[in-house]
């Protein structure tokens, strides 16, 4: 079956612009996660949704970052007033439910802020 998909695969933007990154989880998965992976580092947790609600948003670095999942399926990560330090690969993962042990990852969106 189809895995987790993320669009776009690459995004180049200018400092100060607004960007949206999309994640399509595996069908039927109720839990969805966003991570950020900077060059040479491991993924860093951003936010976790159970259904439509954010169960844990403790990893969002500041109020420029926001994520939604209005219908409990597709999620969008939104970054306002982008900064060069936001350049990273943004990973999305999903699992059957929040307590499930296995998270399935998408290929990521590579964001470059010039």
């Amino acid at each position: 079956g189809a895995g987790v998909s993320q669009t776009p695969s690459n995004k180049v933007t200018e400092k100060g612009k607004y960007v949206e990154l999309r994640c399509d989880p595996i069908s039927g998965h109720t839990a969805l996660y966003w991570y950020r992976q900077s060059l040479g580092q491991g993924p860093e947790f951003l936010i976790y949704f159970q259904g439509t609600g954010a169960a844990d948003d403790s990893g969002l670095p500041n109020d420029r970052f926001f994520a939604v999942r209005p219908e409990g399926s597709v999620s969008t990560l939104k970054i306002q007033r982008t900064e060069r330090g936001d350049s990273a690969v943004y990973l999305c993962a999903s699992s059957v439910r929040g307590g499930s042990e296995t998270q399935y990852f998408g290929p990521g969106t590579r964001l470059l802020v010039l």
Binding site: G40, E44, G98
Partner: protein
């Protein structure tokens, strides 16, 4: 707070040689432990996981890992590596009584040479 330390950032090895990738963790609560692999330009893929029970865990592609509670380690091993095992490997943990976020180490780049 929990943390994961991968002791080697790069591990070069010759084909058909054994390999061990080291992972230590820190946590005051019970955790689940994972190893993920990231091939170039692909998403993270689960290799194996330790939840409870037998401390020796077998995963895909001939990899295994041993949970050692007294040494707070979860080292990954393979008795004979192939060129195709060249990838980035990440150790991660999650609190066992709490769904959601994975905490990752910084990764170990395994390079298998002919």
């Amino acid at each position: 707070a929990q943390s994961v330390t991968q002791l080697d950032s790069q591990v070069p090895v010759f084909e058909e040689a054994p390999v061990e990738l080291r992972c230590n963790y820190s946590s005051s609560v019970s955790v689940y432990l994972f190893w993920y692999v990231q091939y170039p330009n692909q998403g993270l893929q689960l290799l194996l996981k330790y939840l409870s029970g037998s401390t020796l865990v077998k995963g895909i592609n001939g990899f295994e890992a041993e949970f050692n509670k007294s040494q707070t380690s979860f080292h990954l091993r393979k008795p004979s590596v192939h060129i195709s095992d060249t990838a980035e490997y990440f150790c991660a943990l999650r609190r066992s009584n709490q769904g959601g976020k994975l905490i990752f180490g910084q990764g170990t780049e395994l390079s298998v040479k002919p």
